[in-house]
């Protein structure tokens, strides 16, 4: 028992160091975890955004029906506001635009808790069944909201980009 006092003191010091290290490591990993999910959310949303664009290009209304929230609104490049049902009907219709190219670039994601704003500059080349051709650069904003653990699109809007000044 005589030799047990230093052992106990040493044991307590070691325990304290262990607790301290645990706290520090937990704190550090919590910070990393706090950053990583944020990065993951950005990546997750970018992927979902790409899937959305791809589904619009292909006319996959089954996917879009699940992705678009009930209150979804689409503001097309003519400034018309289309609710979800009208947007899906248009995408499904026989005279929908056939996209030769629908390529987003310069994608930016801003996450605000359960709401995210995604912007991109999309090259659109399309032709409708009545031979109306579109060949434009369009700025798109998509607003996503997380509902019951799933990201849904609540708003989509396009504005034709200003034409660059003529070269020379």
């Amino acid at each position: 028992m005589v030799g047990s006092k230093p052992t106990t003191a040493l044991s307590r010091i070691l325990q304290s160091i262990t607790v301290l290290l645990t706290v520090l490591l937990t704190s550090a990993s919590a910070q990393v975890a706090a950053k990583n999910p944020r990065l993951n959310v950005d990546d997750q949303l970018k992927k979902l955004d790409q899937q959305c664009v791809e589904a619009e290009r292909k006319g996959d209304t089954t996917f879009l029906d699940q992705l678009f929230a009930d209150e979804y609104q689409f503001v097309d490049i003519r400034g018309d506001i289309l609710p979800k049902a009208q947007t899906l009907a248009l995408i499904k219709s026989a005279n929908r635009e056939i996209f030769e190219l629908l390529q987003p670039a310069e994608i930016e994601v801003h996450v605000y808790g359960n709401l995210a704003v995604i912007n991109d500059k999309t090259t659109m080349r399309s032709e409708s069944s009545d031979a109306v051709k579109i060949d434009s650069l369009v700025y798109f904003t998509r607003i996503f909201v997380k509902k019951s653990g799933r990201w849904r699109v609540v708003h989509e809007q396009g504005t034709v980009a200003k034409a660059p000044p003529p070269a020379g």
Partner: protein, 146 residues
Amino acid sequence: MALLAIAGIAIPSFGQVPSTKGGSIEEQAIDVKVQWLKAAQSHDVSFLDKLFAPEFHEVSSAGDVLTKAQVFERARSTHRVIDEIRSDVIKVRVYGNAVVLTDRTTIRYHDDKGTRFTGELTFVRVLLRRNDKWQAVAAQGTPIKE
């Protein structure tokens, strides 16, 4: 002083961003939008500075992407005078501390080169409640074509 109290009524002073107190969230958001348009018309950069989050960006109806600083520059300029700006067909969607507000904005302006413009735009604005104040984080305008 942020507020002027006259006869018990709190009147927001110049440059004061509406707080998140009083009225429903929808009413507050519409009030913010009204003051936003007024500030754009009256070159009230002080109000816009408080309203816009640092990361604010706007896709203008002319097809430009503008940062907060660029919107300021435009708002500060007296080369362009907004004769009239108003909005209707307003829809407010509330998601917790965030609001998505769409409207039809009618604008009439002229510039010092004699150019006159009248047009209708469909606008979306994203507002967030931060520290009991409203902040705008994004906006986009699309010209309405007949």
